[in-house]
């Protein structure tokens, strides 16, 4: 057994986290910053933070992940990181010529109490920031929240730094996608374009972390939201914040700054959450739902109805980030599956309320936990086994020990490809998820079913 020391018996822990179901703020901030065109993320702290974040994001995306660090040593920890950040800014512009440097803090620089805006102002006064370039920042203490909080904070910083209150009105809708894959961001744009609704998606990693092989590494790939576009978000019709955890803070900040009203929607994973997203685009954008989108939806419903017998009543355990896990829970319920264990590592009591609400409505009894970990998640499965696990790559240890099929979803997925290219948001994304779930069940059946009951046809 891989996780041979995990006992079935649940025991309350109040100080020890084992096998976390979250990570720290800065990696989320780094990921969000990559979604800005010609932006270099910068980690203000020890260089190990930046090395870890770049490694993890690279393993997840199989793409170059560029970011710089302040490389703190003991001296910087004692005297503060001003000299390091100033020097970093100078070197970054000389070597990498970005339009934007997006500084996020770390637990170290937060404990020291470095005042980033002050350091940046000094650097600007000393002429170290070239004309027309911007250094932005977000405070991302690792001892608060999770990587999702970090994503939310850096996304909010984009609004705080770039959004202009008096921006000219446009017919655009701002869409904040949340901590989803580059492929998901591309799909949200496609869906909106299909409906003839003009959206501005930010951040947008879709063209940054899915770069083609051309024989030359483009340090700043084509993608990412343009700074000039970010300046205009204050003139948009409204903001759709997809995910209360990852996206709402930026939408709130924009309302405050430029009076752009917003709606917080679930991450559009699954039929119903996508319906709500499409409907919001339709309502706010003042368009009819196009035939093509309605057809996409119909195709999805067709698939789910035809395959219902394979989903119905299956028990599933879900672990991951709050926004996508809420949507996945709802999708599993749409499929008549039973999400009996639903866990996130990110703190937030609302998660439990929301998921419990969904389960109660469907008449499913389940365990729901926030600020929890994968050790606990595994113990829940030991006490009530499931037919399927949906979660990140770390779940494979549980899946193997418990001989339970796994559908990989979330961050990080280190051991498979596909999530970079094929979305799970929208109707098409839901089809892909349904296909993956079906494959997981049927592959198992093909492997384990008695020879006499071996089936040729679905």
């Amino acid at each position: 057994m891989l996780l041979r020391h995990t006992p079935k018996e649940l025991r309350k822990r109040s100080a020890l986290t084992v096998n976390p179901a979250k990570t720290c703020q800065p990696v989320g901030a780094l990921y969000a910053a990559l979604g800005v065109h010609r932006c270099l993320p910068h980690s203000h702290g020890s260089q190990g933070c930046c090395a870890y974040h770049r490694s993890m994001l690279t393993r997840h995306t199989k793409e170059p992940v560029m970011a710089a660090t302040s490389s703190f040593t003991e001296g910087a920890s004692v005297f503060g990181g001003m000299a390091n950040l100033t020097q970093a800014i100078e070197n970054i512009f000389a070597l990498y010529d970005p339009d934007v440097v997006a500084v996020h803090t770390t637990c170290l620089s937060e404990v020291i109490g470095d005042d980033i805006p002050q350091i940046v102002r000094n650097a600007a006064d000393a002429g170290k920031i070239p004309e027309g370039r911007t250094v932005i920042h977000a405070n991302t203490p690792s001892f608060v929240g999770s990587h999702i909080t970090g994503f939310a904070n850096m996304t909010r910083a984009l609004v705080e730094y770039f959004a202009e209150p008096g921006a000219a009105p446009t017919k655009r809708i701002n869409v904040i996608p949340g901590f989803v894959e580059p492929s998901d961001m591309a799909e949200l744009k496609r869906l909106a374009a299909e409906m003839g609704v003009e959206i501005l998606l930010f951040p947008d990693t879709s063209g940054v972390l899915a770069a083609p092989m051309t024989g030359r590494h483009e340090f700043y790939p084509e993608g990412g939201v343009r700074v000039e576009d970010l300046r205009t978000v204050g003139g948009s019709l409204a903001t759709l914040a997809l995910g209360a955890w990852a996206s709402a803070p930026a939408a709130e900040a924009l309302e405050k700054k430029a009076q752009v009203s917003f709606e917080v929607l679930d991450t559009p994973i699954g039929l119903l959450a996508t319906d709500r997203f499409v409907d919001a685009l339709r309502r706010i954008g003042g368009v009819e739902a196009t035939v093509s989108v309605t057809r996409e939806r119909g195709r999805l419903v067709d698939l789910l109805a035809d395959m219902s017998q394979y989903f119905y009543g299956k028990k599933v355990a879900l672990v991951g980030d709050p926004d996508p896990v809420i949507a996945l829970t709802e999708f599993c319920l749409t499929l008549d599956m039973k999400p009996v264990h639903v866990v996130t590592g990110t703190p937030g009591k609302r998660f439990e309320e929301r998921v419990r609400g969904l389960l109660e409505e469907a008449g499913v009894e389940g365990n729901v936990a926030q600020a929890s970990d994968m050790f606990h998640f595994h113990q829940l499965i030991k006490n009530e086994p499931v037919d399927l696990i949906i979660g990140n790559t770390y779940c494979k240890y549980i899946a193997r020990d418990e001989r339970t099929p796994l559908v990989r979803h979330g961050f990080p997925v280190l051991d498979r490809v596909g999530h970079q290219f094929f979305p799970t948001v929208g109707y098409r994304g839901a089809m892909r998820l349904a296909e993956k779930i079906l494959d997981a069940f049927l592959d198992r059946a093909d492997r384990e079913t008695d020879e006499t009951a071996f089936e040729l046809v679905l």
Binding site: A15, N19, G45, C49, A51, Y52, S70, T73, V111, G345
Partner: protein, 542 residues
């Protein structure tokens, strides 16, 4: 090929010209054109183990990564708890590919577990010691380990949590060994500081606590082997064939008890000089165990290392057996070299990785006729480049001074010189390089580039200038290199392949490089229409 016409001095200039003045000056001292030794045997000096200039985009990680990840990571039955916010423990969870083989299905193996205190704002404000104590108790209740290690992250040192006091108290309370590592990420200038801190801790708290030696006539420790992708298993296989007993490895496939009785070995064989030379020196001073540098990366290097071990023990049967094993294994290795070499001969490689791999892997490339045109370490020191003879001349800067040097004296009961001084002298006279390491430069061609702590900027320029056939580094560099259309080999995690150590590993590596150098996909980077992008009608017209 570009390398034939490009002068290394010009390449060096091209690498540094974009830096602001101060950074350029520093980088110029870290980029050296390799030259033959001077009359006294010294190579050109290279600035290393020095602070990375902020903002340059470095490969380097931190002290915590070196301590918790590299040295403690491969040990299966010491339960390590990371004291800090969630990130550090998360990122170091199973990501280094250390393999381990517990002796039985129910023997302890904590490697798939990441334990941490997940410090919250309250713990930062009011101190985290209470939470740490509680976490240790909770961990003990679940896992019942024989030893618990505590690894510090950045905020711990700053807020003043006394993790060593907590360790002492918990040791008393639980009746098991509990020890702590002050490996905050800001210590030192790279992972290297963490290696040193880990060596000190294991040496102080574990080594020498179990006196019964294992059986076997020729007992050695293997130092600085971390069992990435199963390397240690291949080395264990070879040592067993030769009749050499492995008392302990630091720290691939290792267990607590192996460390505890490491002082019963009669020789320390050092693989990664950078990360573990401290342990070699300290165990020699305290217990009287001499050390030699070995290298099990490369078939010839493996054979040579085995011969050195045999020479040290001086037993004719052992010498004979080593020769037999080597001859037997090498016949299979040579067959593969002959098969692969026509496709790899004359190709070029670059290696920028770690603190020993950038040196060791040159052996493997050489064996299949490939040249290393540029190499350097991520966290090496001058002695790893220029050889240990520069040790007396290395200036200790403030960053290194902050890392504790243990004051080691001979153990009153356990110190036992393994051989009388005159015998050691005789061995030296016969060419056995006891306690020596020549460094990377000694094995590199004249005119090759040696670059310490290479930056992203330099990596890209280097690729444009040289277009090597294979580039070796780590995960952060992997896809940058490949986007340039050059196959990239990860030498931290072997691209989830391996093992590459020993004879069988060498064969696997040759085939892997053969695959990389001959993979068809690289020929298809340019679409056919880009070769003549004009539409058909225009083409006909011309």
């Amino acid at each position: 090929m570009a390398t034939e016409t490009l002068r290394p001095e010009d390449a060096k200039r091209a690498l540094t010209e974009a830096y602001p003045t101060k950074a350029a000056r520093k980088r110029a001292k870290q980029i050296v054109v390799n030259a033959p030794p001077d009359a006294e045997g010294f190579r050109p000096p290279i600035l290393s183990n020095t602070r990375t200039t902020p903002g340059v985009i470095t490969q380097r990680g931190c002290s915590y990564a070196g301590c918790k990840g590299v040295i403690l990571g491969p040990v299966r039955d010491i339960l390590t708890i990371t004291h800090g916010p969630v990130g550090c423990g998360f990122y170091s969870w199973l990501t280094r590919r250390n393999q381990t083989r517990p002796p039985s299905e129910d023997a302890p193996n904590y490697m798939p577990y990441a334990l941490m205190t997940d410090m919250q704002e309250n713990d930062i404000v009011f101190g985290g010691e209470k939470k740490l104590r509680k976490a240790i108790r909770e961990a003990y209740e679940i896992f019942r380990p024989k030893a618990i290690a505590i690894a510090a992250t950045c905020p711990v040192g700053l807020i003043g949590d006394d993790i060593h006091a907590v360790a002492r108290d918990m040791k008393e309370e639980l009746g098991i060994n509990v020890f702590a590592f002050s490996c905050e990420g800001y210590k030192g200038v790279s992972q290297s500081a963490g290696h040193h801190i880990a060596n000190n801790g294991i040496f102080e708290h574990v080594v020498g606590t179990r006196d019964e030696p294992p059986g076997g006539k020729f007992r050695i420790n293997l130092l600085g082997e971390y069992n990435i992708g199963g390397d240690a298993f291949e080395i264990e296989r070879i040592l067993e064939l030769c009749g050499i007993t492995l008392v302990s490895t630091f720290s691939g496939n290792a267990s607590y008890d192996q460390f505890a009785r490491a002082h019963t070995a009669d020789l320390n064989a050092v693989m990664c000089h950078r990360s573990i030379n401290y342990m070699a020196e300290m165990t020699e001073e305290k217990y009287g165990i001499p050390w030699i540098k070995v290298n099990f990366i490369g078939a010839e290097a493996t054979a040579k290392s085995l011969r050195k071990i045999a020479q040290y023990f001086g037993d004719p049967d052992l010498v004979e057996r080593v020769e037999q094993v080597t001859a037997d294994e090498m016949s299979r290795v040579r067959a593969v070299i002959d098969e692969v070499r026509p496709r790899t001969e004359g190709k070029t490689a670059m290696l920028f990785v770690g603190g020993s791999r950038a040196h060791h892997y040159q052996e493997l490339f050489r064996e299949i006729g490939m040249r290393t045109v540029a190499a350097g370490y991520e966290f090496g020191h001058r002695d790893d480049y220029e050889g240990r003879k520069v040790l007396p001349f290395i200036k200790i800067d403030a960053d290194s001074r902050n890392i504790e040097e243990l004051d080691v004296e001979p153990d009153p009961e356990r110190y036992r010189p393994r051989k009388p001084p005159e015998e050691l002298e005789a061995l030296r006279a016969q060419g056995l390089d006891l306690g020596e390491y020549e460094g990377l430069m000694a094995d590199m061609e004249e005119g090759s580039l040696v670059i310490d702590d290479i930056t992203h900027y330099e990596t890209e320029r280097l690729i444009e200038l040289y277009r090597p056939d294979v580039f070796c580094a780590g995960i952060k560099e992997k896809y940058v290199i490949q986007k340039h259309g050059i196959p990239m080999k990860q030498l931290h995690n072997y691209d989830y392949h391996g093992p590459y150590a020993g004879f069988r590993g060498a064969v696997r590596f040759y085939r892997e490089i053969d695959r990389m150098a001959s993979t068809r996909i690289w020929r298809h980077v340019t679409p056919p229409w880009a070769q003549d992008p004009r539409p058909e009608t225009l083409r006909q017209a011309s």
